[in-house]
Symmetry: C2
Subunit: 214 residues, 2 copies
Amino acid sequence: MYTKYNIMIEHTSISEPIYLRLKEMILNGELKQGEKIVQEKIAELLGVSRTPLMKALLALENEYLVKSIPRRGMYIRSWDQKEIIDIYVCREAIEGMAARLLAQAGDKTVVQQLKDCFSPFQNSDHIDIDVYTKADEKFHSLLIKLTGNEPLDKIYFFGNIHDKVIGHGLIRPPEETLDEHFKIIKAIENGDANEAEKVAREHIKKSRELLFDT
Amino acid sequence: MYTKYNIMIEHTSISEPIYLRLKEMILNGELKQGEKIVQEKIAELLGVSRTPLMKALLALENEYLVKSIPRRGMYIRSWDQKEIIDIYVCREAIEGMAARLLAQAGDKTVVQQLKDCFSPFQNSDHIDIDVYTKADEKFHSLLIKLTGNEPLDKIYFFGNIHDKVIGHGLIRPPEETLDEHFKIIKAIENGDANEAEKVAREHIKKSRELLFDT
DNA sequence: ATATTGTATTTTGTATACAAAATACAATAT
DNA sequence: ATATTGTATTTTGTATACAAAATACAATAT
């Protein structure tokens, strides 16, 4: 037990750091898929009470990372093949629309930021997979964020699940996807909304089709 | 105050009825946009404590109906013009994809259910606006639900905001939209995925453009 | 008259107590 | 040996207490 109410001044509420820690624990596998979250246990582990923990868990439930069964408890979510495909279909719709919006907006700084994600790999003969994976994640979340459409960003919580599902790797090699990324950026730069949406969608679709041999 | 723990056996938790009641209160205007939710007040009004109320409020926050400002409180959300447009853009992406999926699925019962929404109005010379509004809401939520894509349904919480925003009416007259609805259904029936997505999108887009003269 | 400060009141965020439900597991019956 | 019942233990859902932060508002200074 610790002295009440006189520590922790770095944040507005402890729910937030709890939320972040739990998310980290889920994504890096400290908490395993299907595992039950016994509230008292996790609360003690994190040195907090159940109230802010519950708040964090509800937020994670909304992001599809935690599943609650009433009166039974909260569980780390696991995804079967159908759910993963369904999530990729959502991504296809969301990212496609994002690419369209960016193409319509015609903002040079947007194009620059997207290019910056991949410039380190452009003339490199060996691409470090871990670095590229990070860049890829960055690119996809940036694509949504840069639209400035807050609701669109809010419904794009699938990015997290993505790299959890495929186990910290890539579905397809950088040689293949790097070019697709540039095609998306190019279409945005050209202000070709239809093309931007089309290639953004195909990019996601190809990965989905390769995840399982659909 | 009421006797503890021995009433209310019709549901697994009281958060749920609280959630439903609050949602109703927000949508029918009992709670006004921008209004602060003083937890103790609402909890007393509903005859519950702050704990399950908070749970309900967090769920509503995730649906964009409530906005939380840390340490300040929870407020009924209000939407400015940009947000409403952004929400319609999301709907365009989601409903467009839903129509595509249904067209690909080629399920006759799906088509029938969609037709059933509007069959009462087909040969009628006078359409009751309230009845038609209900049918319209039903159609749009059904379009998503029938895909069987749970994540897609989860991110489609904008339907609520829709009729809140426009004040329980319709943006465009039934004469205009009824035909569009049938066009969407027809494309789904024909299994024409591209056409289905296209007309579903145009349908939303037209309404968006009419909401404000964009 | 307006701005500033200080105090009282309200409200939030968190911890905790406790009843009811769920679960574990031993004792008993088949 | 397996199934069933009953009891003990664990865990959840809810209410509530209390500190700290936010707010309201009166008293004082400019």
